[in-house]
């Protein structure tokens, strides 16, 4: 792993956090820690308890070390800790286990214009609430409203802002917002017993230990819980009061509340960096964007990539206690791996038969891991320790020179022929990759999502393992339709091996067309491990397509796709010999 250590421009070890630098810094910028509710200098400490407890120089706002422009901080620093020449540094670490704990981002409610966040000063988010009520916040914990610095007397909380809302593409529950609001109402009741608090909600989810008790205490403290989410917020132009209209679904009445302040209880969203991390570690995500674990119940902290584990929010929305629990589980899993000292690698690697190799180098060009070495006019060789076992090479080699251990041509063709031996016209033939599509089928099973029973799945490690020959053999055996399915394009478990899948399927479509076989009979779909619903949907679609295929079409494909007699090559003629030689 190569890590970029970002330049701080202040020497960590010399800085004693005295703050002299910040006192003389002439620049002000919004303070991110205080949610922009106050300002900081260009040289600053993120927050008083920061670790490491050292100042940092924000080069985007700093005027620079030009003596005409500034450089005051360097002049005043007795420790001479300011280093304008500091630069990013690349650090390399070899590791045996990785715990992914990249956390979350907070939903930005600006797009939900009906609530007027950014239009009305006194509509704030729950994160801004945290800073305003905190003794270490910009107002030293005096809870005032931003518009006039006066203490609000009537405060409304709107739940599920950015959660459980399919209209904005966020159908999931953010898990923490109900309890966070309940906590906020208790804080207000404690600090300012005379405030009137209103919570507008669709359901209160207080399922954890001690949660219901908190909810009851909040109600006892006078908080009014109104079941219904307001349609919009308006501002009274004269008084500046916020007018919230809501249908109370418990009483069935339309209510109008005049409030001094509204707190949007914002949901949480997957961290922005998730795609980058997913790419680096070949992780897959749910449709909501959270990382997918190996098994939702039995392997809840393991990533499908061995040696990678999840902790905290990045796997699914959860609160602090659950994050701590999961971190413990992840470190325990990682520790077990590290303590073992070695791991067994599944014996699914490719083997090249030097006799049959035509020295074309095609296999080396498709290997995502660079595990095949090849030079012109030389036989290609596999570096076994680097081979991850996708099988892209085996499916690409047209000379039968590559055997994928444990996923050989014979084994897979044996499955094709066995499945289609009887009444093939009634079957939907499916190739599914182990990590995503097959797992998506498992997910459909675990979730008990029904679909037609006509499909027959053959598992390969990667969709790139599915060779032309396997698909053609399925049609020759009378398959009405064939599906090749794999991980989503950017989420391939084998870096980008499924690009080969796309190329191969496109080639097959051309081939089918030329042979007078409708290309629609071969389909390509990406189904992730989390997409049980999609798996079921695709199987239904394939079944619909199967019904449109006529017996004549099936008979035609059987004939038209028969292998043409080529000049006999030793490898082609005796594939069994290859298997034996490499076994």
């Amino acid at each position: 792993m190569t890590i970029r250590r970002k330049a701080r421009y202040v020497d960590l070890h010399l800085c004693n956090s005295c703050g002299d630098c910040a006192n003389v810094c002439p620049v002000t910028a919004p303070d991110e820690y205080q949610m922009g509710l106050s300002s900081r200098k260009a040289v600053y400490i993120p927050f008083p308890q920061a670790v490491p407890c050292s100042y940092i120089l924000d080069m985007d706002t700093c005027l620079g070390n030009n003596p005409i422009a500034c450089g005051k901080c360097a002049d005043v620093c007795e420790k001479q800790a300011i280093d304008f020449d500091d630069a990013d540094e690349l650090v390399t670490r070899e590791v045996g286990a990785i715990i992914v704990a990249i956390g979350l981002d907070v939903y930005d409610p600006t797009e939900m214009d009906e609530y007027g966040y950014t239009r009305f000063d006194d509509v704030i988010t729950s994160m801004e609430f945290e800073r305003l009520i905190c003794a270490g916040g910009p107002t030293m914990g005096h809870f005032v409203r931003p518009s006039d610095q006066q203490r609000p007397k009537r405060i409304g909380f709107i739940q599920c802002v950015g959660s459980r809302n399919p209209k904005i593409g966020r159908p999931y529950c953010s898990n923490i917002c109900c309890m966070n609001t309940i906590k906020d109402t208790l804080l207000l009741a404690d600090h300012y017993p005379d405030t009137e608090n209103f919570v507008f909600y669709q359901d209160i989810r207080a399922f954890g230990k001690g949660f219901e008790d908190m909810f009851q205490r909040s109600k006892e403290a006078g908080t009014r819980y109104i079941r219904g989410l307001p349609g919009d917020i308006e501002e009274d132009p004269e008084t500046g009061a916020l007018i919230v209209t809501v249908e109370n679904t418990t009483s069935g009445r339309l209510e109008r509340h005049e409030l001094d302040m509204v707190v949007l209880s914002v949901g949480v969203v997957p961290a922005k960096d998730r795609d980058k991390i997913a790419g680096l570690l070949t992780l897959s995500k749910t449709s909501d964007g959270f990382f997918m674990e190996t098994h939702p119940k039995l392997k809840p902290v393991d990533a499908p990539t061995r040696g990678v584990y999840f902790a905290g929010f990045c796997e699914s929305p959860k609160d602090i206690k659950d994050s701590v629990c999961q971190a413990g589980a992840a470190s325990s899993r990682a520790g077990a791996l590290l303590n073992a000292g070695e791991i067994k690698i599944e014996a699914i690697t490719s083997v090249i038969d030097p006799e049959a190799c035509s020295m074309c180098g095609l296999c080396a060009s498709v290997c995502p891991y660079g595990a095949i070495t090849w030079h012109k006019k030389e036989v290609a060789t596999v570096i076994e320790a680097a081979c991850a076992g996708c099988g892209a090479c085996g499916a690409t080699c047209t000379f039968g020179a590559i055997t994928m251990r444990h996923f050989t041509d014979d084994q897979l063709l044996g499955q094709v022929r066995a499945i289609l031996a009887e009444q093939p016209e009634e079957k939907v033939f499916v190739f599914a990759c182990n990590w995503c599509s097959y797992a998506g089928g498992d997910m459909a099973g675990i979730s008990r999502i029904r679909y037609p029973s006509t499909n027959r799945v053959v598992r390969t490690m990667c969709s790139a393992r599915v060779s032309e020959e396997m698909v053609l053999e399925a049609f020759r055996c009378g398959a009405p339709v064939v599906l090749v399915s794999g991980c989503h394009y950017a989420d391939c478990h084998y870096i980008d091996a499924n690009r080969q899948t796309v190329k191969r399927v496109q080639k097959l479509w051309d081939k089918l067309e030329k042979a007078g076989v409708r290309p629609e009979r071969l389909q390509l779909e990406w189904i992730s491990a989390a997409e049980g619903q999609k798996f079921a949907k695709v199987m239904q679609q394939m079944e619909d397509k199967r019904k449109l295929v006529t017996p004549d079409e099936i008979a035609h494909a059987r004939e038209a796709l028969k292998p043409k007699k080529k000049k006999a090559r030793p490898a082609k003629k005796e594939p069994a010999a290859v298997t034996e030689a490499t076994a």
Partner: protein, 202 residues
């Protein structure tokens, strides 16, 4: 471990799991067994209530010895769950673990086709035939052992990352904690009080 004689005949054993009613409730397991008996090279078919449980595994071990099986097909659940279980089982019976193949009658069949007795049973038969078709060509494999670097990387210095890093360090491992911000603490550090205990976040 007994090694395969290349010339020796294929002797495949098929073990069909009821999984209580998880499979047997939607699939005619008896019919699947009868069908399996008709397949070439299958010399022994056993129906289990729970193949993964000790009695089920013992039946596999017993049959491997009794019938001199050199390939095992377990028709039960997804290999993504129990492949390691049954690989270990056949290993203990003296077979190379790679000579075991699974047919997924549960996640891919009974759980998704309840009420479609005939359709699910036909599919289950095909899945068993497919596994047997593959098992005929299975070969012994030797796994490679790779050393693990005894150091961990934790990406993210919020409450989960900090906790995970500390736990690993307590176990005696070297840990590198990577945080993109200037300070660790994450979003939790921005909170005032936290539920349900109403104590400070930092």
């Amino acid at each position: 471990m007994a090694t395969l004689d290349k010339d020796s005949e294929l002797r495949i054993g098929v073990f069909v799991c009821d999984c209580g009613l998880n499979i047997a409730g939607a699939v005619d397991c008896g019919a699947v067994c009868e069908y399996a008996e008709t397949l070439d090279d299958v010399v022994c078919v056993v129906r289990n209530k729970y193949t993964c449980a000790d009695p089920g595994q013992n039946e596999i071990k017993h049959a491997v010895r009794e019938h001199r099986l050199n390939r095992v097909v377990v028709a039960s659940c997804t290999p993504r769950q129990h492949e390691p279980t049954f690989r270990q089982c056949v290993l203990e019976a003296g077979l190379n673990p790679y000579l075991m193949e699974m047919a997924n009658l549960r996640e891919h069949c009974s759980w998704v086709h309840p009420g479609d007795w005939d359709g699910a049973t036909a599919k289950a038969k095909d899945l068993v035939a497919s596994a047997v078709g593959r098992a005929r060509f299975l070969e012994e494999q030797v796994e490679m052992a790779v050393p693990v670097t005894r150091r961990a990387l934790v990406i993210g210095g919020g409450v989960a990352g900090i906790e995970a890093a500390l736990e690993l360090a307590e176990q005696g491992h070297q840990v590198t904690l990577v945080e993109k911000q200037a300070s660790i603490g994450g979003i939790m550090a921005q909170l005032d009080k936290t539920y349900p205990t109403m104590d400070c976040s930092i």
